[in-house]
């Protein structure tokens, strides 16, 4: 859909959520220990490279969203859960990182496996 000046104001105030109102079973539960897949697509992805092969813990389940890796290429919504996953700074950056600091990253079902 082409954005035209007459609909800009309405589009801006309502937005367009990528949530999908479909029941999809989550692959993970809060508290699960996960390993991020070593996944390197040449096409669109929302998995940051620095997470590949890293371990984290699922902190929250945000619900069901369209999967960007397929949706961006008109290959379907492939609806799935997106989670807040906690990683320690040490897991990502090694021993010189603070042992107190952490990161929270939004990770889709298809990017990870249970440890």
């Amino acid at each position: 859909m082409l954005l035209t000046p007459d609909i800009v104001s309405a589009v801006a105030s309502t937005g367009a959520s990528a949530r999908v109102a479909e029941h999809v079973a989550p692959r993970f539960r809060v508290g699960d220990r996960i390993l991020v897949r070593n996944y390197n697509p040449a096409t669109h992805t929302r998995l940051p490279g620095y997470l590949r092969g890293k371990r984290g813990i699922v902190e929250a389940d945000y619900g069901v969203f369209a999967f960007p890796d397929t949706h961006a290429h008109s290959l379907g919504e492939k609806p799935q859960h997106c989670y807040s996953v906690r990683f320690t700074a040490r897991e990502l950056w090694g021993e010189t990182a603070s042992d107190r600091d952490t990161l929270r990253v939004d990770v889709f079902d298809d990017y990870m496996d249970l440890v």
Binding site: L2, A12, R19, R46, P48, L92, S98, R100, D101, R104
Partner: protein
């Protein structure tokens, strides 16, 4: 006597202009619609919206509870919603935890509460270093935190948009909600600064 090297790749403005002209040429973008959109986020929507949300949370504990459990709905109560704010999460700074928001993959940012992101937020160095060296980045913004404080970085990689609820500065008990909102800065809601950050946060009252 080295000559300055041209670095078009590092200039987001050049890249944006190039993308815009291609999209217009292909008939995928109406430049007038783009101007109208930019006008809304430059002149009508901005960080004063987020400041109102923060001040309300400081004065109204019930509102704060709603804000932390369902941010999208609580923010909409104050009239702020729409593009890039469809699915909001508010994270609270405390004496133990300092939150910092980044989008390492692009420049995701909560438009209805903060407007358009500042240039540094979109820059490659901020995006790379906010995750790998958050304390170094914070220091460059004049924010030094005690080693006892956990720095918690939120990388906005998916559809959620994050707003930091900064700690209320000390000695502000007598201020009105509007006066409190006036104290809240954009940078404090991204998490690169604290409010009243001349004093380290570890010294704040528990």
């Amino acid at each position: 006597m080295s000559k300055p090297v041209s670095k078009p790749e590092s200039d987001p403005a050049v890249r944006t202009r190039a993308l815009e002209s291609i999209l217009v040429e292909k008939g995928l973008l109406d430049p007038k619609a783009l101007d109208a959109l930019v006008d809304i986020y430059e002149h009508k929507v901005g960080p004063r919206n987020g400041a109102k949300v923060v001040a309300r949370a400081w004065v109204d504990p019930e509102y704060k509870k709603r804000l932390l459990s369902d941010a999208t709905t609580a923010i909409k109560e104050l009239g702020f919603s729409g593009l890039q704010g469809e699915d909001m999460v508010v994270v609270e700074n405390t004496p133990e935890v300092h939150n910092l928001v980044v989008c390492t993959l692009c420049s995701c940012y909560p438009w209805p509460t903060l407007g358009l992101p500042p240039v540094w937020y979109k820059s490659a160095p901020y995006r790379a270093r906010a995750v790998s060296d958050p304390r170094g980045v914070l220091k460059e913004f004049g924010t030094t935190l005690s080693e006892n404080v956990e720095v918690r970085v939120w990388d906005t990689t998916a559809e959620l948009r994050y707003l930091v609820l900064p700690e209320r500065p000390a000695d502000t008990e007598n201020l009105t909600e509007q006066q409190l909102a006036d104290l809240v800065t954009r940078d404090s809601m991204i998490g690169v600064t604290t409010l009243g950050s001349s004093a380290p946060t570890s010294a704040s009252k528990h």
